[in-house]
Structure formats: structure tokens, C-alpha cells
């Protein structure tokens, strides 16, 4: 009978250790200095990019490196890696607001890597020291629900000023800049292009039109598509929503379209560093760039690769002149200022 008791106890302890050991065997990828055998190794990614499933499938087919990923807004990733104080939780940070990447670089949370493919990427889309490299350009769009516009009896807004029309009170949705890279780029872009004073004055007026700030970056276009609001400020042209049959159009704001390069970066202390470098090279390569473009309609950064058809209008759009270093360095103070003004 005592034996049974012992066995019971051992099962209990075993249960604990089994759970504990479950994950340990993933750290088996010691990079060897010569020919590293990367096939069959695993890369862990934090992702803020659409079409990721297809993109990663293509990468695994090309390189044999497996991918595990977690979808997270860039603000969330930044908060997480800061909270973990540099302890690596993944290898790669893929997509999101460049501001968060710059803030992470300043905090020493990224690994520098200048990819041989980076020479084909214009200088303004990448970090000089290689802490992050742009993979595609993201533009801010108005996603406008045409049915709602008819009901309200207004024209489809074309400019930032149009959004201030009295009919749009309570009809415009933007997300919270502290979480969403899109919203932060809008804020930083408007402040930079209009100047601090005028920029905040505009934000004050825009704030009057906004019923509440969405807590998630891609909520505004969805809410606009569903008719919950009339205009959503979005990081894409809503192709997926259009395909679903929602009555929406997308508009590049004519008086200045905020934009940013969506980066890829290697996280400091990445366990599979060599694999991570392969991934960065692949994203920037001609083939990788085309696969990214075909699965997520954004403008490729690499010279000589055509933007997707739905973004043809971007050639006529007036892109804002944004200094991303400023945007990244001032992220914390600007967000705090915004929070004080509008968060309550």
C-alpha cells in the first residue's frame, strides 16, 4: 500500500516535470560557424502583417526552415520585449509601425544585421546600421462607407480637412496611437507636416468627430465596412473587405498621405540567429518581395518591383514628408501628450 502512495506521489511530480520539459527541445539550433544546417530548424516570429500564412508557407518551401508565429500589434510587441528586458521570446519581428522598431533599437532590443540584399533598398526605407530594414510601404487610407455617405448626404471625403465637416461628427474612427502603428503614424505625420501647433489644433478638431478610439489597429476599416461608422482610418486599401462585398471605397488623403516603411528586424538574443538572417535576406530578395506583394497588397521597397494593381493610385497621391527617426525618438512623449489630451 505504501508503494501505491509512492507511485501516486511520483505521478504528481512527474506531471509537473513533464509540463516543464515540454518546450525545452525547441532550443536545439546552435548556429555553427561553417555551413550551418538550418533546414528543419524553427524560427519564432512576432507578426503584424496580412497574408502571413501564405508568405511563411512559401518561405518554408524555399529554405526548409519552419516558422512559428504570433500575431501582435507593434505597440504590443514593443511593450512585451521591454517587459521581458531583453530576454529573447522570438527571433524575428515582422511588420508593424516603424516607430516601435526605432524605439526598440534605442532601447537596445534589436540585433543589427545588414543584409546583402539591402543594397537594393533605398536608404530612407532602412536603418543605417541595419537594426531594421523596410519590407514594404504602408499608406494611410480613408476607408469610406458609401451607403453611409448617401444617408448622411455628404460627398466622399478626399482630404483631412473634409473630415471636419459637421456631418461627420461621431462618424470617424481612428485607433489609439499608443497601440496602433497606423494611428501613431497619422499623429506623427500630421504633427510633422502641419507643425506642432497647427497639428495639435487639427487633432483637437478631429477628436470632436471621433466617437471613441479603437483599441486595435485594424478595427476602424472593419467598423466602416460594417457601417458602424462612415470613415475608418486604415493602414491599407481594404481589398479584403471590398472582396467580401462591403460597400466601401478607399481614398488617399489628397492633402498629404501619411506612410511608413513596415520593417523586419532580428530580436536581440535570437536563438536561431543564422536562420533569422536567412529570413531577412529572403524578405528583401526579388522573389520574397514579390511573394509579400502578392499576399498583402502593399508597395514593395525593392527597386524595380511594381506595386500591386490596387495601389496604382499611389503614384498620384501626395505622400507626406515624414522623418521616421523623429517619429521613433519622440514616440513615448508624443503618445503621452496624446494620452493626456484625449484619453479620458
Amino acid at each position: 500500500m505504501k508503494k501505491k502512495a509512492l507511485i501516486f506521489l511520483m505521478i504528481l511530480m512527474l506531471a509537473f516535470t513533464v509540463v516543464g520539459c515540454g518546450e525545452d527541445n525547441t532550443a536545439d539550433t546552435q548556429p555553427t560557424s561553417e555551413q550551418p544546417k538550418l533546414e528543419g530548424t524553427t524560427l519564432k516570429l512576432f507578426v503584424a502583417y496580412d497574408g502571413e500564412d501564405e508568405i511563411f508557407k512559401a518561405f518554408t518551401e524555399d529554405t526548409g526552415i519552419k516558422i512559428e508565429y504570433l500575431d501582435m500589434s507593434s505597440g504590443e510587441v514593443l511593450a512585451r520585449i521591454r517587459a521581458e528586458q531583453g530576454k529573447p521570446l522570438g527571433d524575428i519581428w515582422f511588420g508593424g509601425g516603424v516607430d516601435s522598431f526605432i524605439a526598440a533599437k534605442n532601447d537596445g532590443l534589436l540585433e543589427a544585421y545588414v543584409s546583402p540584399e539591402a543594397e537594393f533598398i533605398p536608404a530612407q526605407y532602412k536603418d543605417k546600421e541595419g537594426y531594421w530594414t523596410g519590407i514594404s510601404l504602408v499608406t494611410v487610407n480613408f476607408i469610406v462607407n458609401t451607403d453611409r455617405c448617401k444617408e448622411l448626404g455628404v460627398d466622399i471625403p478626399q482630404t483631412w480637412t473634409d473630415l471636419l465637416a459637421p456631418q461627420f461628427k461621431g462618424e470617424i474612427l481612428m485607433s489609439n496611437p499608443s497601440i496602433s502603428g497606423t494611428a501613431y503614424t497619422i499623429l506623427s505625420g500630421l504633427l510633422q507636416s502641419m507643425g506642432e501647433e497647427e497639428g495639435w489644433a487639427y487633432m483637437d478638431k478631429l477628436n470632436e468627430q471621433i466617437p471613441f478610439y479603437a483599441k486595435r489597429g485594424s478595427e476602424p476599416p472593419q467598423k466602416a465596412a460594417m457601417g458602424e461608422v462612415t470613415v475608418g482610418l486604415a493602414p491599407d486599401t481594404g481589398e479584403a473587405l471590398k472582396a467580401e462585398g462591403y460597400p466601401i471605397v478607399s481614398v488617399f488623403p489628397q492633402d498629404g498621405t501619411p506612410w511608413w516603411p513596415s520593417p523586419v528586424a532580428i530580436l536581440k538574443g535570437a536563438e536561431n540567429l543564422e536562420g533569422a538572417k536567412v529570413f531577412v535576406d529572403w524578405c528583401l530578395s526579388e522573389k520574397g518581395q514579390k511573394i509579400l506583394r502578392d499576399n498583402c497588397p502593399r508597395v514593395p521597397v525593392r527597386k524595380g518591383i511594381e506595386p500591386p494593381e490596387c495601389l496604382a493610385g499611389i503614384k498620384e497621391a501626395k505622400l507626406q514628408d515624414i522623418d521616421f527617426e523623429v517619429a521613433g525618438n519622440e514616440r513615448d512623449t508624443t503618445v503621452e501628450q496624446w494620452q493626456e489630451k484625449y484619453a479620458q
Binding site: K44, L45, Y69, A83, E84, N176, S178, R216, E228
Partner: protein
Amino acid sequence: MNNGRKNTPNKLMPLQKGIFTRDISFSNLIASSVYITLAVSVAVFIIWPTIAILMESVYYDGQFTLTQYISLFTENQQLLLNSIWVSTLSTFLAVVLGLIVALFISHSANRGKKTVFAVLLLTLISPPFVSALSYIMLFGRRGIITYNLLGLNINPYGWHGVVLLQSIGHASIAALIILGVLRGIDKSLEQASLDLGANSLQTLLKITIPLAKPGIVAAALICFVQSLADFGTPVIIGGNFTVLATEAYLNVIGLYNLPRAAAMGTLLLIPALIMFIIYRNVVKNSQYFSVRQSNESTLVLSKWLNIILGVITWSFVAFQLIQYITILWGAFARTWGVDFSLSLKHINALGSSQIASFVRSLEYSFLAALIGSLIGLILAYMIERKKFPGYQILDFMVTLPYMIPGPFLGIAYVLAFHDYPLLLTGTAFIVVVNCIYRQLPIGTKAATTVLTQLNPEIEYGARDLGASEIHAFKDVVLPALKPAFLISFINTFTTTMITIGAIIFLMVPGSEVATVQMFNAIKTGDIGLSAVIANMIIIATLGINLAFSYFILRPARHKDTMEKEMAYVPAIEGIK
């Protein structure tokens, strides 16, 4: 934990004096080492994270400061008031509704009581954001009820929606808790009241409801804490109405202001603790309780009372079912709001990552439920029966997670386990452990309730007949604890399947679970995909719960089904 396990038995020997008068033997050595191991694990996985988060709220750059609290009280009073206002109101409504539904089942002459009971159990399985999502699908500006049917164009965002969803959402658990107490009260008291000339309404108000007070207060405590901790509902349908929990969430994920989030978390604890103290006093001062379920109540309600209870209860049931139907429909509708025709495209669109995380959810939930329930049973036995040294403290420590709002336990885990020697973040282990210890109060209390009703003489009898300590536990106590194990298993399994608040902070690539996938699907606005995942979670959880109940309760199959149902109730009632 390993360290704590090795050197403990010898140290404990002197303490055993007086507890084990009968035999100081090998099995007692084992018992004490199990006790010590569990006590240490509780300290490590409940107390240490709590300390870590408290420290974070008062230390800034290595210095003690109360700035966070001062600024919360001076600048952010509105947040505090909002939180307390919404929680109080929705708790009140949930408890009233819960009481009505419970009375409907226990006292009214209406039909369909079993259906109502089944719906109550079903609604315990509601993945996060589902009610908020269906609320927008139904009552949004383009909601199928408000816009398509009624032609209205109303703004659904604000505190009203939050209160509505929380009170209806929490009414189920309130009803089950109150029902447990109602069934336990001595029906002869009602009979006496009737015999003395009181009518049914008077008896209900003056005898039945006062006797059910401990259940009502317990329900209020649970609802209140859950409302305080709920950030999902206000995030989705609160609009510009914010509460402490949403702001704390934003402070972590958006602003990385951990000290502030930690302070907000601590503030949430205070009202929860006050409620807990009130509750303890009520329970202490009430002398209700007949342990055996007495027969069906002889109280015959008046016709009007029956009708009122019936109308309210069935409206509640209808509202709940509509939510589930909406989500089911959402999974099959081509494009919600545009084209409601049926299609399989959302199911076909399920990717390998969604399937993988769904399987992972099942694994984690099963592990957490099994291990957590075992720990809960053993802890309850050691606290209630053995009264090991320090058992009261341990009892309190085990109860603590129930008062700690989910997101803060998540943040607390990040703070407590990201560094040597307890470097555990980034593993699946920490996710499962978080789920185990968060749900430990339920398992322990369920087992304690059963144990208080189990006459210790039976164990003594077994011991006198020569059974060892362990044997008495295994052959006498354990079988009696089956219902408690079932409750604990089902509760931990279900909550782990549907939880998000705490573990979202512990996710790393490769440990993602289905709720987080669903959260992402809602984030990208994919109603179809989120509805598909929600349904998968609901169906799998329901199926496993039913299978497990059948498996555990099979020997008692011939008994009345009502008794089987009762297995759910004592434990929920046991949350004390």
C-alpha cells in the same frame, strides 16, 4: 519547487507531534512532504507574483514612491468611479436576474426547468468577446435586429451595453450559486410559514430569500469581481467609456507603463477585498444549512408570481440562445451584414495555424484541468481534514486568485518569472501553471464543501479497521470527492479553453492558443473566422465536459438525473 521538495520531510518531523497521534509512519512522511510541496508551489505561483506586481506599483527607478496611486486618485477618479459604478450596477442586476431564474427552477410550477438549467450550464461556456461580438452583430448600427428588422440607426456604444452584457452574462453563474443554496435550505421552514397563515409571496420574501442570503452574497461577490476584471466587453462595446481594467490593459500593451498598470491592478483588488469581507461576515452570521437536500418545496406560488418568474426567465433564456445562434450563423453567413446566405467558406479558410492553436488549447486545458483538480483535492483534504500547521494561511492564499483580476495575474507572471532563478516566461509550462493556480480556489472550495458534509467518522472507521492513512484517503475520501473533482475539472478545463485575460501576456510564438487566435481574428475584423473559432471552442468544451461528466458519474447512472445535475451545484456554491 524541486528544492523545496527535497529537504522538507525531516524539517517537518517535530510539527507532526499532536497531529498524528496514531501512527508516525512512512505514509505520514509522504503526506507532509506533499503538503509542503503544494504549500511551496502555492507560495511561488500565487504569492510571489502578487508581491512582484505590488512592488512594481510602488518602486520607480529603485525608489519607493506612491506617485502612481496619488495620480490615480487625483487625476483619474473618473476611471475609479466608472469601474465601481458599472460593477455595482451590473452585479445588482445579475444577482436579481439570477435569483429570479433560480427561484424559477427551485420553486415555480412552470415547465421546462431542465431546459433552463441546461441553458445555464451552457452559458458558462462562452468564449471571451463572443457576447460583445454578437451584440454588435445584433444591435449595432447595422445590426440585424436594430437595423435590418427595426430600421433603427442607434449608437450601441457606451456604458449601457457594458452593463447589459455583464449583467446577463454573469446572471448564469449567479443563478447556479443561488440555486445551490435554495436547494439546500430546509423546506420545513417554508411549510411552517405557510401553516402559520402566510401566503406564498410572504413566505418567499420573508423565509426563502433570507435563508438564501449566503448564496446571494456569494453570487454578488463573484459577479462583482468578474465585472471589475472584465476588460473585453468595455474594449469592444464601451466606446469612449473606459474603466480601470481597460486602462490598465492599455497601459500594459500600449504604453508599457507597468508601474501604473500594477497600481491600477492593486486598486481593483481593494473593492474586491471589501466585498470578500462582507461576504465572510454574512456567511459567519447565518445559521442556515441542512446538509441533505430536502424534498421538493411544498411552497406553491401564486399564479401571477409564476407568470412573472416565467416571463423573465424565458426572456433571459431567449436572449442567451439568440447570442449562440448569432455566433453559429456568423460562422456560416457569407458576409455578415451584406450577404446572410449560408456558406462554408469560413470553415474552408481555416489555416494550419488555427488548427494547431486549437489543438494546443485542448492540450493545455486538459493538463491544467487534470493537474489542477488533483492539487485542489489534495489541498482541500489537507486544509479541511488534516489541519496541518498554517492551514488557515494556506487557505487564504489559495482563495486569493479569485480576487485577482485576470490581466493582473498575467502581468504579475511576466514580472515574477522573467528572471533567474524562476526563468519561466516563454514556455508552455508557465501558461498551464497560470491556468491551474487561477482556478485553484474553485477546485479546493468544491472539495472542501464535500468534505465538510462527509462525516469524518467514516474515515476513522476505515482507520480502525486497519486501513492506512493513504488507503483511507484513496478508498473513502476520494470516491466521495468525485463530484468535486468533476466540478474542478470541468471548471478548469472550460476556463482554460475560454480564458484570455491573463495568458495573453504569456503567449510566445509557438504557444498560441485558440482564444488568442480568435482575438486576432476579431482584431482584423474577420467575423466569419472568429465565429468559426468561437463555435469550435464551444462545441469542443461542451463535448468534453459532457463526456467527462458521464465518465465520472457513470456508476451513479441509475440515480435520478436531477441528482446528477446537482453535482455541478455544490461546488459552484462552494466558492466561499
